[in-house]
Amino acid sequence: MSGPSTLPTSQAPSALEYGGDEISALVLDPGQCWTRAGFAGEDTPKTVIPSHYGYVNGGDEGKKYYFGDNDVHALRPGMEIANPMADGIVADWDVAPQLWKYALTSRLTTELSEHPLLITEPVWNTPKNREKTAEIAFEDFDVPAFYLAKSAVCAGFASGKPTALVIDIGASNISVTPIHDGIVLKKGSVRTPLGGDFISNQIRSHFAANGIPLSAHYQVQSKMPVEVGKPAEATLRQFKSGEEPTESWKAFQEERVLTEFKECTAQVWAGPGPVPAQGTEGIGGRTFEFPDGYNLVFGAERFRITEGIFAPRQMLIHGEIPHPDPETTQGFGGMVFSAVRDVDIEIKPHILNNTVVTGSGSLLYGLNDRINNEMANVFPGPRVRLTASGNSTERSYASWLGGSILASLGSFHQLWVSKKEYEEHGPGIVEKRCK
């Protein structure tokens, strides 16, 4: 093969050829579910920690915080679990900077003042939040340069598409964002709260409505195999009084089982059209085994759990389990329609031809087929082409990856907001520079 020959180790590649110029920048992608951090120019974030954190209310020295996978999942009496993010953006400015600092310094670097920092944000981030982010970066972290990039744009870049329709299915939201030449088109940016957390609650509703007990891994000391549908035969862990885990921690542990359920059992009706109300009895089932050994076969129910994404009126509702308003919430098809409606006609066909699907939530089995069908239904005329990375890591970390690409480009380095500029113009400068 006479392709591009690999360069000898003693020779540097021409920098202009691949456009990269690594300045050892750090990239942080804070999400509702995961916070990802790593060096620009790498293809996966070196640090991925849950956005959830643990805290124990201490006496004199105030709250004690716990970050990172190991600590939040550890069983500590009295440790509550909380999330500084709400609706995909920072809600708790006391904890978020600590969480970010942990993500950046736990294993990447100790000197934040030596590394420019790029942080991603969703389109619906508020101006106040943006300024606050810049403030944290320059004043708490003391970074030499800083940039706020839109996560949708980054996800587009991760697929090599500066002009695209980005469908991000995260934990808090499903967002549809048209981008053009690396710039978000705000009029067409829409979202609905039907992301991964919504699916979790749908599963909870289904379990609660059908009396299916949800157990978590921490409860089980030992278990015996049982027949399908038979009660579990497991020895459960007993807690001394005063040492029981808190409710929020328990819910967080249950969430892990629900994610497992999403990965293995939940499925999206491929379409075309919604899940039929009748005649789904013949569909083959899938077994899911709960941590305590109890196992069940899920037939058509596994489609109904996810159907709410496309038809919010059909969402499962049970008791106190939170859910968005089924009447006013926009379904997927309507959302894509209104996103594209408010875009300049000139680029409509172009962005539809470059539709990018990202976010871990999009890993739901069968989702891409359904999206394809829904989009063909909404736009019968123009050609719709989906791009969804087959690599699940890439799909989960797309926004981070795009940020990593961006911050390692030679031509990007003129866009950083430098510390000097920040000091001159104040935090308002992000609003002007990071559009």
Binding site: S10, A12, A15, L16, G19, D21, E22, I23, S24, E114, P116, P144, A145, H180, D181, I183, L185, K186, K187, G188, V343, D344, I345, E346, I347, K348, P349, P380, G381, P382, L409, G410, S411, H413, Q414, W416, S418, K420, E421, K435
Partner: protein, 443 residues
């Protein structure tokens, strides 16, 4: 190698194995002979023992690379980007070089921005418009600068209090401003060619752009039925276009048939008896000419029938100088177009079909169309006279001629038969005579 032993085992053969060749011990390394000079490696490989098919993995470390010269270190170097307005210093790895002079940051050349004009105080006077305030115009120009004239983005981000503008409005205003500023700065007459090109580019037709966009929108929002209909229409169109060629040909044909020669002159001179007589003479003369021409074209007449003095040929001669080739083509086309008559109709109208017609007019009675020639013919004539039939028909029609021919050929057959009988009788007579002689001898 073990196959041999396997076979022995299967066949249950035991016995001395001494004379059986054993495979050489596997591990033993072959000593590689030194290749003599002058023999290529490939050729040498064909000689003697073949090398083992599997490469022998030698149990030794990779050889130390031989570095050419000294290693060139990478240095963590600070750099400044001239594309930036501040002097932010960033760091990256660079090869260590001897030269100490600063090189310009390579990526700064990608820092291109689009020139959006800034009107001066005086120039604003000419830009006044009822619709656009000065503040809004300034806002438009600044947003154009911010997004480098990416109109989709400009329209998306355009947010002036109390105004909602269409994209073509924004474009129209922007290009109007540009145009007006260009005019004010350099009068059109004094513009250089490049400036003129740029000036002409600012000529923006808002209405047309609006219609175009509306149409694009319609095209984009087609419903499923519309798409299906469009597809159907497209296939229909294809079919029609395909048929068109055929239709044109047919139409041309019809026109040709409806076509008659236009008289070129006035008919004044042919009015009155003298004129008519003159015309007749002329036609006859033409006819003669035509006959001559035809007979030359077709060779000596061998035909059987009268022919060719048809009106068409007269007409074509009338037309005179039309190229002969085209004429012939036309004629053959016309022949093709003639409606086939049935047998009955042919009889009824007295029309007959002929493969080939000889030119010129002949009387049937003068034609000699019998196929029988020479001596036979005279014999037939004789036979006919014997029967009291005159050799020439008094009434020559197609039918009587055909009957006559039939009769002639039948007479010919009869004559032939009589001849054969005569011959056979003659022979029989001879044979009988011989028989008589033999009997006499035998007796």
């Amino acid at each position: 190698m073990s196959g041999f032993q396997d076979v022995r085992d299967v066949m249950d053969i035991s016995g001395p194995m001494e004379n059986i060749p054993r495979p050489p011990p596997a591990k033993k390394q072959k000593t590689v002979e030194k290749r003599p000079d002058g023999i290529t490696r490939e050729l040498f490989a064909l000689l003697g023992e073949n090398p083992p098919p599997v490469a022998i993995v030698e149990n030794k470390f990779k050889e130390k690379p031989k570095w050419m010269g000294k290693a060139n270190p990478w240095v963590w170097t600070p750099f400044k980007n001239p594309a930036r307005s501040d002097d932010l210093t960033l760091y990256h790895w660079e090869r260590k070089t001897e030269s100490t002079e600063d090189s310009v940051y390579a990526f700064s050349k990608f820092n291109v921005s689009i020139d959006v004009p800034i009107p001066s105080e005086d120039e604003y006077a000419a830009l006044r418009s009822d619709d656009w305030t000065r503040e809004e115009t300034d806002y438009l120009l600044s947003i154009c600068r911010d997004f480098d004239l990416r109109w989709s983005v400009i329209w998306d981000r355009y947010d002036y209090p109390g105004k909602t503008r269409k994209l073509e409005d924004l474009k129209a205003r922007y290009y109007n401003v540009c145009r007006s500023l260009m005019e004010q700065r350099t009068p059109v007459a004094q513009m250089t060619p490049e400036e003129l090109v740029a000036y002409n580019l600012t000529n923006f037709e808002k209405e047309r752009e609006g219609t175009r966009r509306a149409m694009a929108e319609k095209q984009f929002n087609k419903t499923e039925e519309q798409i299906r209909e469009e597809e159907m229409l497209l296939t229909e169109l294809k079919r029609i276009v395909g048929n068109q060629e055929k239709m044109f040909e047919e139409r041309k044909d019809i026109f040709q048939r409806l076509n008659y020669p236009q008289s070129s002159g006035s008919i004044q001179q042919y009015q009155g008896s003298q004129g008519i007589a003159h015309l007749r003479d002329m036609l006859l003369a033409n006819n003669d000419k035509n006959k001559k021409r035809k007979s030359i074209a077709l060779g000596p007449s061998t035909g059987v029938e009268t022919a060719q003095a048809t009106p068409t040929s007269a007409v074509s001669t009338d037309r005179g100088n039309a190229p002969a080739k085209q004429e012939r083509q036309e004629k053959s086309e016309q022949k093709r177009q003639v409606r086939k008559l049935t047998k009955e109709e042919e009889l009824q109208y007295g029309v007959s079909q002929h493969e080939k017609l000889a030119s010129g007019v002949k009387l049937r009675s003068t034609m000699n169309n019998s196929t029988i020639k020479g001596a036979t013919q005279t014999k037939i004539m004789g036979a006919l006279t014997q029967l009291g039939i005159p050799p020439k028909l008094t009434m020559c029609t197609v039918k009587t001629m055909a009957k006559m021919l039939q009769l002639e050929s039948q007479v010919a057959v009869l004559l032939d038969t009589r001849k054969a009988i005569d011959k056979l009788e003659q022979e029989a007579k001879v044979l009988r005579a011989q028989l008589g002689l033999k009997e006499k001898e035998g007796a």
